[in-house]
Symmetry: C2
């Protein structure tokens, strides 16, 4: 039996359970009229933003489609590429859209459920996360399976070996649509959410001294909209892309590893087992009443652990059955990825949770003002990069050696690629534990604005602060898998260029030595590109936030009775500013990502491109980890102070900590997470435009 | 005639002119008794610190000497290495010591000269910088020449080709002493100076609201001491190391490039021509009375340009004479380095001077508080990395191709190495324009504390703020040359291991492909090491600064009449805290630098080490540029506000800008500049311990 059939089955199951969880959410009442009204404002703001974002993005997709279509006419790319590009983008966008749709319906319901009990609230919020997680993995695997079957049918006349080659090299280019959409969603949403958040905090908390989510703050709706368009829709598209990337890159390397169709089957089947394990895992997530945060975190973790154990067991049988006992090393590669993912999660928690020293030391530094908070937070983030780098390095070494790299280089590379699949196999449930955070955050906002009982807000706060930790864990996960996938992409890039060169009778051989100046310069430029990219995303947030600050100040000055709560602020104005700013900046940022590998390729040739990807992966990996962890630690240091330490809310220390948190916002939710997409988008663009580069490059 | 003789001649000339400039300084009177008293406090603080630092460092040097001596007994290293290690460290330390000695005698004299005229002040301060610059290049070239002649005599029985091989491979390891000392001086001094600066500012400027350099501030003497031990002694040792590194790495690559003794002669002679050109250049630095900052900067620049033109012309004849017309490409490599250095200077000025948009935008962001200042400053720094990376990349490509890399790979590498020599050939004068800054800074402090006329302070401020720009330029320069030198070191590392393997009948061949997991993991670890290293240096500053803050607060609370100026603070206590903190942290930091390449080598083998060096170079380069430029821009944004923009001194915007400046302090003066030393120290350690690694490594 061809086990590939498990892929569409798993995908369908995921989507069915997403429907099941959706129904759970909609059974809960939305609460009071005020809650409904607020939820509706958030929902319509989020919809309005996404509509405009997708409209903007569609120009890019149409433009790229035309370019790819023309290239296809001259045989520079396969004719499937432009269409696959569109479907990748479409499904990625759809994942984000559906996730957001559910999240904006779950927020008020979570708040309402929290007025009953903590466990009810957790159930609703987590169900919303689960929908997100399952939709992402379901649609991703569905898209891949459909294309797999289409290609398999189209090339059916070819002998198996050749057919697999065509299938995988086409599949490989399919990530481009997903990555492009992810970039827009992550960066656009990230700019939106953090501009609103930073702007709202700077005036509301710091200048005027009203609490977070106070309905008098004109940016408060924009802030809540942002949680949905950035942390939900953006993250969904982002992880859709990671997931697709890890699977297609291992499929692509299966051919040169000599594993043929069986090497393609393994990642697809492991992914679908992961989906089923995730579905099972979600049923283990439940909590007793009003327990500590630690117990709550345990509840979420339990689901992830159960899923991981299932995957660890079943993968063994998959590998033995599909590849045979002699390739048992591939199983250990999958396992090493799975374990590495869990370990990265642990260390991320250590560096960002206020139960441990690093975050506490940042809180302590707030006693000597904002400057020491920043210095301390940056150094915590920088130091924290060592752990994931060492973990990923060990994982690379283990999976390379286990998969047989010492005897067969290409099998080793396949091992590295499939370890990324192992790491992301639990995505269905890890994403669920991650995506529930913004829903809880929103629920807290609604509880505050609707004037619900203080007890309700305490419960949503408990859920929310847990969400900070799971979010940081999720990011570590996304970045770690991105590093592994990026390596696989570099290897796949080499394979792809070599086979193109042979097919087109071009005289080209790789020299990927780090002493080859083309490679070296590529590495340097790769390092700088990640920084320039982060600079643009950070400054976009800064610029947009400044506009929000000005607008909020204006409203407090001009709208009479606003401070006293007698007049209503103009929420829509802030939403509008965020939307415009976010979309405005996207053009420049997308241009960097797409143009860099092509320009570098045309000047330095494919060796330079490989160097570029390597440099971007290395510099991007450490920078992204630093940003995510500094940001998470600052956020939790602030929360630690708010819990009554070092003077508590309103103290000078708290004000200093808020500065740290504000700097951390674009770090952890805009620039940092965008880096892993940048790396992979550049990789896929390099592969898609490979023949163009080989044909026209100077070197 | 053997042109190598120019090296000791140039070195001697440099030292003679250093004496000449010293006499100019000492002709000026130290000023009032109060000025003498303050200058003396600073001097004795600086001496006390350096004494303790050298004592601490001597343990390290003795320990390493013993290890190297034992290794030499087993033929793991040449018997010259332990001794060269000591002399490198000694001369590097001596450069720093002499520079500091002069600077602490020139500060009050500059203040006194400024009470006469701006030009007189410039003359004294610049003379002090010139002593520093000439001592550094003089001692460096002297050390190299002495060893060259010793080795040449020792190996005189060998035929020329073999002799040159022995000479250059020994010379190569000599950088280790210089780099070790530079690390201690830069990091120790950097922690001292910034802890004092940050601590003094946080309490003085931000909390209590007294001006900078106010004598009531207990940390003010420590702050001024810091300028001398960090920005003078530290920088001197740092650039000594860069200079030596660039010369020895090109000598080492001369052999494999097939240029033999002539390839060694060129860098030595170009360096000595650079010295003479720098001496001539210093005489072009003079200013009219009380002119604008722009004119003043022009005066300094003129010296650098004249020197550059002389070098550009004379190098042509050197190359043609020594290597012959067929190697004229080497001349263009030198030229490309020279030009790249100047260009990096331009762009650094663009990003850090308040005449341009980037710094102005940071100043503007201060209107919305410290968080936006930080976000904006980080993004300016990140964006600014693109320029030096592109400039260095072009320089690599040009020098590689011109030197014949397309036909002979090793000649291309020699071209890259010698372009670093070209870049640093103007060091005598660029260091002079750089090292005069801290003297002017100190002079301003003394003027303030001694209660001199406001006009005097204005003049010292003019000199000082110019110093900020030249300092940032100098750092860009140091980092750019470090990138080129580091590449040369990687190439030299490969050569060195290969020849060791042949000599010792070891079965080892390099596979430096970026897809080789050993290389790849090495690259990843290299990236993480730079971040961990920066984390340690940053947090060391943060910790030490916190201690200073506590101490300063204590003194203001406990010493009655301090705030009113009736009682004197306990300056020595702050100096003592800084000294202890700085030395305490050095151990951990030195351990990282020395242990990392050895551990990575033992686990991953020489391929892993090459990857490590590559990763550290790339990540370190961009991180160091970012830190230097963010720091410089924050500093000047603050000064821009102090000049009356956005509300001026004492406004909320000013307070926000001070936070940026405070974060920037460890960026630009501790962590950033330490990175280029880290990179090169790891390179030399790798080379010295090469045979140990090849013999005992797992892979």
């Amino acid at each position: 039996m061809n086990l590939v059939v498990f892929a569409p089955v798993g995908a369908t199951l995921a989507l069915l359970f997403a429907v099941y969880f959706t129904r759970i959410i909609f059974k809960v009442d939305e609460g009071t009229d005020k809650m409904k009204y607020i939820a509706n404002s958030i929902r319509s703001g989020a919809n309005a933003y996404l509509k405009r974002q997708y409209k903007g993005v569609s120009y890019f997709f149409i433009g790229m489609f035309i370019i790819l279509f023309i290239l296809a006419q001259f045989n520079f790319v396969s004719i499937f590429v432009p269409f696959a590009f569109i479907t990748g983008g479409f499904f990625s966008g759809l994942s984000g859209y559906l996730g957001m749709k559910i999240a904006t319906n779950a927020n008020s319901r979570t708040a309402n459920a929290c007025s009953k009990s903590l466990n009810s609230g957790l159930k609703v919020a987590f169900s919303s996360g689960a929908v997100m997680g399952l939709v992402v993995v379901g649609l991703a695997l569905l898209d891949l399976s459909i294309w797999y079957y289409i290609l398999n049918w189209y090339y059916k006349a070819l002998p198996m070996a050749e057919r697999v080659g065509y299938i995988t090299s086409s599949l490989l280019t399919f990530g481009m649509g997903a990555s492009s959409m992810a970039l827009f969603a992550r960066v656009g949403g990230g700019i939106f959410t953090k501009a609103a958040d930073v702007g709202a905090d700077l005036v509301g908390k710091v200048e005027i001294g009203i609490p977070e989510d106070d309905p008098r703050n004109p940016a408060v709706i924009a802030d809540n909209v942002g949680d949905n368009v950035g942390d939900v829709a953006g993250m969904g598209a982002d992880l859709y892309e990671s997931y697709v990337g890890s699977i297609v890159s291992s499929c692509a390397l299966a051919v040169s590893a000599g594993l043929s169709i069986n090497g393609v089957t393994v990642p697809l089947v492991v992914a679908s087992v992961g989906i089923i394990a995730s579905i099972i895992g979600t049923f283990f997530v439940k909590s007793k009443e009003d327990v500590s945060q630690k117990v709550l975190l345990g509840a979420l973790r339990r689901g992830v652990y159960f899923s991981s154990i299932i995957i660890a067991i079943v993968s063994y049988f998959i590998v033995v059955n599909v590849l045979g006992k002699e390739h048992i090393g591939v199983y250990f590669a999958i396992l090493s990825g799975l374990v590495a993912g869990l370990l990265i999660g642990f260390f991320t928690e250590y560096f960002t949770s206020d139960h441990y020293n690093p975050t506490k030391s940042i809180a302590k530094a707030s006693e000597t003002g904002p400057a020491t908070v920043i210095i301390n937070g940056l150094s915590v983030g920088m130091l924290s990069t060592a752990c994931p780098v060492i973990i990923v390095s060990i994982s690379i070494l283990v999976s390379y050696i286990c998969a047989g790299g010492l005897n067969n280089f290409n099998q080793g590379l396949y091992g590295i690629a499939i370890s990324a699949v192992g790491m992301l196999s639990t995505l269905g449930i890890t994403l669920a534990t991650d995506a529930y955070g913004p829903v809880a955050d929103n629920a807290g906002g609604i509880a505050e604005m609707a004037g619900l009982d203080k007890e309700v807000r305490n419960r949503t706060d408990a859920l929310d602060s847990l969400g900070n930790t799971t979010a940081a864990t999720g990011k570590g996960f996304a970045i770690g898998s991105a590093a592994l996938t990026a390596l696989a992409f570099i290897a796949a890039y080499k394979d792809s260029i070599e086979s193109l060169a042979i097919k087109n009778n071009l005289d080209f051989t790789f020299d990927l030595s780090i002493l080859n100046p083309q490679v070296l310069i590529g590495i340097f430029i790769g390092g700088a590109v990640t920084y320039a990219f982060s600079a643009f995303t950070m400054s976009a947030v800064g610029k947009a936030a400044s506009k929000i600050v000005v607008e909020v100040r204006r409203q407090f000055k001009e709208i009479k009775g606003l401070m006293e709560g007698k007049a209503e602020p103009d929420y829509a104005a802030c939403v509008d500013i965020c939307t415009k700013s976010a979309l405005h900046e996207l053009v420049k940022i997308a241009a960097i990502a797409v143009a860099t590998p092509i320009i570098v390729g045309l000047i330095l040739g494919p060796n330079g491109v490989a160097g570029l990807l390597c440099g971007a992966t290395v510099a991007g990996f450490v920078l992204a980890v630093m940003m995510a962890n500094s940001g998470g630690a600052w956020d939790n240091a602030k929360k630690y102070i708010e819990a009554g330490n070092f003077g508590g809310k309103g103290s000078e220390a708290h004000k200093a900590a808020v500065v740290g948190d504000t700097v951390g916002d674009p770090f952890k939710d805009t620039s940092g997470p965008a880096l892993n997409i940048l790396i992979k988008l550049m990789s896929v663009v390099s592969i898609v435009f490979g023949l163009v580069v080989v044909t026209f490059s100077l070197f």
